[in-house]
């Protein structure tokens, strides 16, 4: 028996023993969910601890999912709904007028002070596709796929600053310390590719999101579930490249030597953790090729580069969209993109509606459209859920930071209404959900809270968000905290 076979054999032996040791039925290798089905309300700490070992094997959801994977495109900084997805001709008529006091009473804004002026939509809208979905002229490519997406116009949140709002959206709570959606999903469903992490993160726009890396952190879940950030410069995953002068063959030799000696240590000490270490060194060796391979977009055909607007070697949202497609193709469960730079306050040209926002639109329009089309032509869209949106919306009032009139047009943070669109993974196409009032300030029909969105995403992945819990800090936690209703209307 060679080392590999022996390792497999011994691991199997150990698993079998464990299986008998545990009184709890574990379903198809699932610890987290098995305990839900077989053993009462929550998994115990002991089960959770041993679950870490088998953490990343693919697991079964609660019920048949319509989406097997997810790509989440988070526009960090919060795009303006009033220029992109929420057509408000009435607001145009109010442009330049004082904001009525009724909109200001009892409200807290990040920067608006005193009485601001109303700001009409700065972009033109037209009905698109067969569905006639109203979409801005600033998204000409995206307008061609209106019939493939569900648009929710009535998202709302509790937090009006970036970091807490991003955390609420991505972790279910506005403070630090909760696991991110991607961590929950990989904890629940595992990974379909044993050569790549199950939860990968790509960042563009020059900065990580305001809330920092906690938005893809594992919180109180074991750290194996945290998102692995892929970088477009330097090593795609930290330290995945061999040092200069060390070939892959030499690395193979060193890992063989390490594993051979570790195996002897196992014979001596009998600690099963040593077997895990041996398999993790093997996985790291596989990642050394699988990660750079999947991250290298040079070999994509010209028409694909053309479609996405990608330039190999650059850090861009376009490159990240193409990478997202490559990652889900390889079975990565959760691909999270963050694109920074959507915070259009109007303090400078770069963060104004007419400058910065328009520019950001032109950066994302083509690649996000290409992503949907590309997934579709590969037959992946049916099983891949794509979600796009910011952490909150923008005010229909023009920002007047410091009580001043600024030379550029900007909008302040707004929690009451913002858009999210979803495509694939079992959601309807050409469907617009919810309605806001005449100026896009409040949702007036079919409002969707951030926790409802999370519940819906979990549902599409086959998970009941109320039953999917983790015991920490003395109680069961779930992604949706104590709230969340599935938005059934958007499900096909």
């Amino acid at each position: 028996m060679n080392l590999q076979q022996e390792l497999q054999y011994r691991t199997l032996q150990r698993e079998t023993r464990r299986h008998f040791l545990k009184q709890c039925a574990q379903g198809l290798g699932s610890i987290a969910l098995g305990s839900l089905i077989g053993c009462g309300a929550s998994s115990t700490q002991e089960e959770q601890a041993s679950a870490v070992m088998e953490s990343l094997a693919a697991k079964m959801p609660h019920f048949a999912p319509t989406a097997k994977r997810i790509i989440y495109l988070h526009m960090a900084g919060a795009p303006s709904q009033l220029e992109l997805f929420d057509y408000k001709p009435e607001l145009g008529k109010l442009d330049g007028k004082d904001c009525p006091p009724s909109l200001l009473e009892g409200k807290k804004f990040a920067f608006i002070q005193g009485v601001p002026k109303m700001l009409g939509p700065q972009a033109e809208f037209k009905p698109r596709g067969e569905s006639g979905m109203m979409i801005s002229d600033w998204l000409p490519h995206f307008s061609t796929i209106a019939d493939d997406v569900s648009l929710i116009r009535t998202m709302h949140t509790d937090e009006f600053n970036h970091a807490p709002a991003q955390l609420l959206l991505q972790t279910g709570g506005p403070r630090l310390g909760r696991p991110s959606m991607g961590s929950w999903v990989t904890y629940g469903l595992g990974s379909d590719n044993e050569n790549l992490p199950g939860f990968m993160v790509l960042v563009s726009g020059g900065n990580t999101p305001d809330a920092g890396k906690s938005v893809w952190g594992s919180g109180f879940l074991p750290s194996v579930y945290q998102g692995v950030q892929c970088r477009s410069e330097g090593d795609p995953v930290l330290f995945v490249s061999n040092p200069e002068g060390m070939s892959r063959d030499l690395r193979r030799n060193t890992i063989d030597a390490i594993n051979k000696i570790n195996d002897k240590e196992y014979q001596e000490m009998g600690d099963p953790e040593i077997l895990t270490r041996i398999s993790q060194y093997e996985m790291s060796f596989r990642m050394q090729t699988s990660v750079p391979e999947v991250m290298d977009i040079k070999d994509e055909p010209a028409y694909i580069h053309d479609m996405y607007g990608t330039e190999p070697g650059k850090t861009s949202f376009a490159n990240n969209c193409l990478l997202a497609r490559r990652l889900v193709e390889q079975g990565v469960r959760f691909v999270q993109l963050f694109d920074w730079g959507w915070d259009t306050h109007g303090v400078s040209e770069g963060d104004s509606i007419e400058g910065g926002l328009k520019n950001k639109c032109s950066q994302v329009d083509r690649p996000m459209t290409a992503l949907i089309k590309d997934l579709k032509q590969r037959g992946l869209l049916d099983e891949t859920l794509v979600v796009w949106g910011g952490e909150f919306g923008r005010t229909p009032m023009q920002e007047n930071r410091g009580g001043k009139v600024w030379p550029f047009k900007g909008r302040d943070h707004h929690t009451e209404a913002f858009p999210i669109w979803m495509a694939g993974g079992g959601v309807k196409g050409g469907y617009t959900h919810g309605e806001t009032d005449e100026i896009g300030y409040y949702g007036i029909k079919d409002k969707v809270h951030v926790h409802d969105l999370q519940a819906t995403i979990m549902h599409l992945l086959g998970m009941d968000h109320e039953k999917f819990t983790y015991f920490a800090q003395g109680r069961d936690f779930r992604l949706t905290d104590v709230a969340g209703k599935v938005v059934h209307k958007i499900i096909a």
């Binding site: 023993r17 040791l21 009462g40 601890a49 870490v52 807290k108 990040a110 920067f111 005193g114 970036h162 630090l176 310390g177 900065n207 990580t208 305001d210 809330a211 920092g212 890396k213 906690s214 074991p222 750290s223 194996v224 692995v228 330097g234 995953v237 930290l238 330290f239 995945v240 061999n242 040092p243 200069e244 002068g245 060390m246 070939s247 030499l250 690395r251 030799n253 060193t254 030597a257 390490i258 051979k260 000696i261 002897k264 240590e265 196992y266 001596e268 000490m269 009998g270 600690d271 953790e273 040593i274 270490r277 993790q280 990642m287 920074w340 009580g403 943070h413 800090q473 003395g474 109680r475």
Partner: protein
Amino acid sequence: MNSIYAKWKYLLAAFLSIWFVVWGINAISLENKHRYVPAAILGQEVDFNRDIRPIINKKCIACHGGVKKSGGFSLLFEEEALAVNESGERAIVPGSIRKSELIKRINHRDPEYRMPLEGEPLENEEIALLTKWINQGARWKDHWAYIPPEPQQIPNISDPWIQNDIDKFILSKLNKEKLLPNPKSDRYTLLRRVSLDLTGLPPTLEEMEAFIGDESDSAFEKVVDRLLASPAFGERWAAMWMDMARYADSKGYEADRPRSIWKYRDWLIKAFNDNVPFDQFITLQLAGDLLPNPTDEQLIATAFHRNTMNNDEGGTDNEEYRTVALIDRVNTTWSVLQGTTMECVQCHSHPYDPIRHENFYQSMAFFNQSADADIPSESPTLVQFKEEEDLQKLSRVKNWAATHPGKKDSVYFEKLIRITEPKLHPHYFEQMEKDIPIRGTATFKVTDSVYSFTKEVPLMSEDRIMLRYRADTSVGTLQIRLDNKEGELIGSIPVNRKTKTEYNKEVKKDKIYTINETVSFPVKPISGKRDIYLVLEGNTGLKTECTIEWVLFHHALPGEEESGFEEIARDFHEIFNSTNEKVTTPIMLELKDGYRRKTNVFEKGSWMSHGEQVEPGVPAKWNALTPTMEKNRLGLAQWLTDPDNPLTARVTVNRFWEQLFGLGIVETIEDFGSQGFAPTHPELLDWLALQFVHEHQWDIKKLLKQLVMSATYQQSSHMREDLEQVDPRNQLLARGPRLRLTAEQVRDQALAVSGLLSPKMFGPSVMPEQPEGIWQVVYSGGNKWETSSGEDKYRRALYTFWRRTSPYPSFISFDAPSREVCLPRRIDTNTPLQALVSLNDPVYLETAQGLARRTLESSPEANPEKLIAIMYGFAMARGLDHEKLQDLIELYRQTQVYFDNDPGAICQFTGEEDKELAVMTVMANVIMNLDEFVMKS
């Protein structure tokens, strides 16, 4: 040089002879071992904690507990459980199963009535237990953790294996389980284990030789004493406590700007090294500022609770984030010192444990009087001057105040200069523009058209006002008025624009910048709470704008008429405006009367909805606050360290136990409540806790010595087949601990064995090599990772700059937390990302090269076998098993061939044309990735 090898041959032989002893332990039949037969079924008395509470917590409390009280019935407190419910029935009538509604309902045939509702019926065994319990009188018992530890009988047991009393507890339990412990570890393993455990560093070869060569009975004890006295001891345990303190060098949240709080880290190291007794250790951290005439060190200790995050994001409400920090202090205190999950109680009564909703806010009331207020400057801070010029000014002012009698003494003026409180912060002020109030965040303004005011300032006849401001012209007068903008004028100062000229790189010429100035001027002394208005007088159309950071009322220096006063007043002014380098550390500081805050319950945990007002207090199940304990943080510390407190000592000995054994006696070291794990050795836990308080007088080094001197600690960590079946996680301790090194130890060990480790202690945090592009945090323009130079590149891990949103990547891979909030227990993982760090991170390659160089320099003449054995010896401080040596030799030969075939790779790999160095660096890279290297056995 050969002599070293000669010694090693000896070590190798000695080692091998120990190594190949076969532990003669027979497998023991464990049939039916784990079938749990409750004692009660056999006719004994039902024990509430053992038999009943688990049923309640699993099956009942979700609906009948601290969160929900369905039907008005709760099982959280005895009085609630025995009370009459909404239905008019009593669920539990002690002694009468006929009258007890609970018994009726759990037996009911109709699922509409049967409890648990919509759930599986209780097991017959559970029903039998509950029935018997009520029959026997329904005796309620507090959860074990709230009953103070009771003196324990040391098991009367003798065995040559036993080294101290700990072993008697362990062995008697093993005997009950029909298990034998492992024999003692070999000396090599033992010294490495205890060195890493006590100092976080591996033993050196010399230390190993000394230990192996010492044949006296006290050889091990001598080693332990040496390690406890080593300066590295404080560094190792400070690193542990820094997780408790959520220590970081940045403030957290959006911009996550740097914070200067490393003095607190240094304080921790010194406190552990000086063996400050644990009761004082926590008293200083919670309330050092409340001690009489606190020293700098005592003030810096209070930075423990200034490690909460501070939100500088524009537009955030300072009061909201002050509250968040306050809540964090409550949670951290309870988690770290009481093993209690207080966070549950923020929103409602505890779901499982006897803590009521208002108890959270009573705890919060202790912390609510600290002057900090989520201000970007992190005030209050303690300033420590470094420049002689500043130190002399300070001493002249102090000296003047000491020699000139006045209302205030020199201590007052030193505090005024170095702490500068109580400040009135911008968010206390309303800025009135066209009669619309605007609340300031980082600053507030007074201009031609804007005045600002703050309400109800508790004035105590101070005769000066100090403010820090900048102005964009030198026109007009800033006036202080009482009660309204036209009210009585009590002081004024001409506006002055202070500037500095600095070369600007972008425009390539000198530029003039407006800068802040701290000024103090006389005001009419007033007593009582009054509204203070700041108004600008003298509009010249120049649109003067004053931007103010803070305002402070204070008393004048004495001796105004004396000669020499002018110089002292100048010193006083200059020291506030000194731009010389100084160290500032955020500290806790109790608000004075008049400035003190009210504390209210937050309904459902929301800071916006205030419920009833509360005073500082503690939950009823705990020891009482005695009349001698003041209702402030000092009183809280006295309460926590009161020998009657049921948890402080238990939680503490358990934490140190966990650090050495991998699992606590209570595994959930953060939760001793009824949802945490029960102790595996309850008697031992209580015995250790009482010893710690009464025998050791809270002496941490004595506690650690007691733990490591036990046979339990010193036994071999070999896994045996019988144990793998019955005790895979080593809860019974029939073998020694075998644990992965912590993130910090992984780095420190690599640096130590490579010879690169800097012994330098203390000082500002350093930036060792880190990949490009890790710090991509928004709005942090100036804050860059600039790799430290010289020995600062090679400092121990605990000195590494810890930025919360982008912590040092290799630490995170090895399970260090981000330190946003306190994480009392790290969970070890074993991932491919860790392998990538130790294989490929340039830091680890540099250490591998260091180890290679060290090996080659020690024995330039040696053959490959010898070289590899020596290298392994440097790494592991012991000899190398023959078979493993063969594997390494094979790799050595392959690697030689590799570099022969590709000589260009040599220089790429090492930066030098030295094949031997390249080959040996590969060998070191392998040895430093072995399981035995990253583990302590």
